[in-house]
């Protein structure tokens, strides 16, 4: 049985697409056949971050409208073998993304793939509801600030009431809290909420933090999910997240301010 995972947040710009790309790539690196779907119709940029924007011919809406087959629309990732991307349309109307259409696409994907990762658009409107509707699990991406946490709380309410699992009274969606763009120095200065604050407010299982990292922007600009940038802190963080998702017990990192060693300080690292 394929697992459907939605990457969602409510608030915009918190790192959903960054996370979708690295998380999906991470599952593929661990040998799982994975597809990542861009639900952000009109604003697609998952393909940019995955570096496949020049290979988009057909998109999910073409599949829904029977204008292309699923195989024609799926793009094979250039970085790893087990990964495919189903892009969003840049030009079509959002309303074309119907629940019935999406259900058909997901059912067909479920025959071939182990994991289906859904990159949700921001907001709590139809687009976000469509992205979370079929989910078995949700990674709730939150930045350590009040507005983002509030919106995540709202999304958790929708997961518990507006998803298929909620409506059909099935076992609830498994929720995971991922805190991204975390900067321990700013937490110490009181400029950001701490991970503990966020956990205390949202009270769902915590899957990890991704530190605020220069590497993310560089990787996005070069069309490579940051998880592939070996040695980068954000890459390690996403690998941990994937491992924990797959059931491994890994200690949490990147929670505290890195103490710069004396030698490093003297000789400038």
């Amino acid at each position: 049985m394929a697992r459907i995972i939605v990457i969602t947040s409510g608030k915009g710009g918190v790192g959903k697409t960054t996370t979708s790309a690295s998380f999906a790539a991470g599952l593929a690196l661990r040998g799982h056949k994975t597809v990542v779907i861009d639900f952000d119709v009109g604003l697609r940029n998952l393909d940019l971050i995955m570096g496949c924007e020049r290979r988009v011919v057909y998109d999910i809406i073409n599949v829904i409208n029977n204008e292309s087959s699923l195989n024609q629309s799926l793009i094979k990732d250039k970085h790893c073998d087990n990964l495919y991307i189903l892009p969003a349309s840049q030009t079509r109307d959002k309303d074309a993304l119907t629940l019935e259409g999406v259900e058909r696409v997901i059912n067909e994907l479920a025959k071939d793939f182990e994991y289906i990762v859904c990159d949700s658009p921001a907001g709590i409107e139809k687009g976000a509801l469509t992205a979370l509707y079929f989910a078995d699990e949700a990674i709730v991406v939150t930045n350590p600030e009040v507005a983002s946490v509030r919106d995540s709380d709202r999304i958790l309410g929708l997961l518990a009431s507006k998803s298929r699992r909620a409506i059909e009274n099935l076992e609830p969606i498994r929720e995971h809290l991922l805190v991204t763009r975390y900067a321990p120095e700013r937490v110490e200065k009181g400029e950001m909420l701490s991970v503990n604050d966020v956990k205390e407010i949202l009270r769902i299982p915590f899957i990890g933090v991704v530190p605020e990292s220069q590497a993310v922007l560089q990787a996005s600009n070069s069309g490579t999910p940051v998880i592939h940038v070996n040695g980068a802190d954000a890459s390690d963080a996403y690998k941990d997240v994937v491992a924990r998702f797959l059931g491994e017990d890994r200690p949490h990192r990147f929670l505290d301010v890195q103490k710069v060693g004396l030698l490093k300080r003297l000789f400038g690292g």
Binding site: L156, G157, A160
Partner: protein, 307 residues
């Protein structure tokens, strides 16, 4: 014309436009109305009391739906007397729609005067028809009208609350006006007030930002956190065995004996029977995060720690 009738009219007009639909529908409706408690039917005395206490309303076309509560009176009233009473209250912007009295034989007289009849304990009549249910998306709640500054003591924070409540007194009070909901007409008509076990709604999942839970006609028990920006409402008591960070409104239909019990008190707003308090600034240290109960002492909202 009362709000209730206007509503029914609009349904009828709508129906005539569609040839396929039944020419009318009867639907349950719930309206907010004033209850005018009358302690005398001496119209001269009432008029005098009204002109003192309701002077601002005199001559205004407010048409506020009003329930004439005669429950405490041994009434031997006539159609003419009720018509005169209607006319009098109308002059003060109170549009009488029904009388409230235990004696059902008054129903005919009231009807002849163009008024409805309902038994006194309207609350329990409501409960007969009501089942507790969760309404996740917006429902109407009494909107707070003014912020009330709080005074806090060592052990209990006591807040004097205000409401649009007018009691008219001559020697002994002649009238009391209270904000009171009236249940749907047809739920009241043929159901006598029977003792009934109030249904309790139990919520064991978090109530998240933007969600609203309403326990209609009974108590509400919440076993998980109520987030900031979430709202729980009950016609009866509210018990919260978890942090309350959002809003809790008990006695939503005017039950002033309703209480709120909270395991961890960090709310945005609490209200009992419309008497409310906001916590724009944090609750006093003596209460924040503690277990407390909230109740009305006369018209003061009392927040006391549970020890």
């Amino acid at each position: 014309m009362s709000k209730l009738r206007l509503l029914f009219n609009s349904i009828a007009v709508h129906a005539t436009m569609s040839p396929y639909k039944s020419p009318f529908d009867i639907k349950s409706a719930s309206i907010d109305a004033l209850a005018l408690h009358l302690y005398t039917l001496d119209l001269a005395r009432l008029e005098q009391a009204f002109s003192v206490r309701l002077a601002k309303r005199a001559g205004q076309l407010l048409h506020e739906p009003t329930l004439l509560d005669l429950a405490t009176l041994e009434v031997n009233t006539s159609v003419d007397e009720l018509l005169a009473l209607r006319e009098l209250t109308a002059r003060f912007g109170l549009q009488a729609i029904s009388i409230r009295h235990p004696d059902p034989s008054l129903a005919d007289i009231a009807a002849a005067a163009g008024l409805g009849w309902m038994p006194p304990v309207i609350e329990s009549t409501r409960l007969l028809a009501a089942t507790a249910e969760a309404i996740p998306d917006a429902i109407a709640t009494p909107a707070p009208e003014a912020d009330i500054p709080a005074t806090t003591g060592e052990t209990a924070a006591v807040v004097a609350a205000t409401e649009e409540e007018v009691s008219v007194s001559t020697e002994q009070p002649a009238t009391v006006i209270e904000q009171h909901p009236i249940a749907a007409a047809e739920t009241i008509v043929d159901k006598p007030a029977l003792p009934t076990r109030h249904k309790t709604l139990i919520i064991d999942k978090p109530v998240r930002t933007g969600q609203q839970i309403y326990a209609k006609g009974g108590d509400l028990i919440v076993l998980a956190t109520i987030s900031g920006g979430a709202e729980v409402i009950a016609d009866g008591n509210i018990h919260i065995y978890a942090p309350l960070r959002g809003r809790a409104l008990a006695g939503a239909h005017g039950d002033m004996s309703a209480r709120i019990f909270v395991h961890r008190f960090e709310p945005e707003l609490i209200s009992i029977a419309g008497f409310y308090r906001t916590f724009d600034t944090e609750p006093p240290v003596s209460l924040k995060g503690h277990s407390v109960q909230v109740y009305l002492d006369a018209e003061r909202l009392v927040i006391a720690p549970l020890t």
